[in-house]
Subunit: 149 residues, 2 copies
Amino acid sequence: MRIEDEIKQEKFSSVYTKLLINIVYTGNKISFKTNEILKEKNLTLQQYNVLRILRGQHPNPATVNMIIDRMLDKMSNASRIVDKLELKKLAQRTMNKVDKRCADVLITSKGLALLNELDEEIKASEKSVIHLTLKEVKTLNDLLDKLRG
Amino acid sequence: MRIEDEIKQEKFSSVYTKLLINIVYTGNKISFKTNEILKEKNLTLQQYNVLRILRGQHPNPATVNMIIDRMLDKMSNASRIVDKLELKKLAQRTMNKVDKRCADVLITSKGLALLNELDEEIKASEKSVIHLTLKEVKTLNDLLDKLRG
DNA sequence: ACATAATATCTGTATATACATATATTTGTA
DNA sequence: TACAAATATATGTATATACAGATATTATGT
């Protein structure tokens, strides 16, 4: 469905503005679905993303800075998201021995298990929402990579 | 730059997950630039988007429901964003004569003037951030439209 | 070694947001 | 017509977020 019909707007001030709106709208739409699944597990999208970053590092720890660097939403407050994950025993913070400014953040086995539970469901949801062939998925990825320069 | 390098993650649990991350990351990156410009005018991204919706209707009023329908982020609270715009005299609410449940929302001349000031700057910023040919922009728009089904 | 800058993280505070619920009005139906 | 359901919006409340410092530690230049 054309983005014009989706948000009921025929004209955009430029093709670039239209593209940005299309990207953000589409991202939100897919994220919305994922969010529904996460809600059942009492996770926010950002908490989920940080958990995945921690799993990517496991069994090595990440630092808060590393998390900020890899987060999708650079605006947000990584330190407090880690607070929330720690509160739920999904992650654990320990002081870095070498650089005492850094906090080592590790995903716990409970965190790993939770992600494991979610993996298949979210993968299936994303696949069912993305109406593209594998070739189109690749083209789209390549164009987005090129877009950012 | 490949999304893998951008967020320093080599493997994704599926190509669909990778695509979603790529879309959200790219949208955030462009939005971040736009947000910098809006901050100088004391506008949030969402307030800006609602203002543009109101301009699209002008000189006819929009209703809150219409705004929700056209917003990029369906999660958010349109009524309170209109509150903020009204507080800044950028929009105005009046009761709909026919259906008293509805609030007619109109952009003010101050709102129109503000958008006018922003138009060129934001258009230029978006264009400079999107490193694609016009043909690629079109392909990307088409693929995103198809993705959503 | 000392002072200064840079870095990593944390925290106070104001604002924004999500969610559930409340309120008012209109629509549909028996 | 009366009454339940649907619709449009607003609001209370808990939580999340952004932003601006604050704090602690490490790196750098002299």
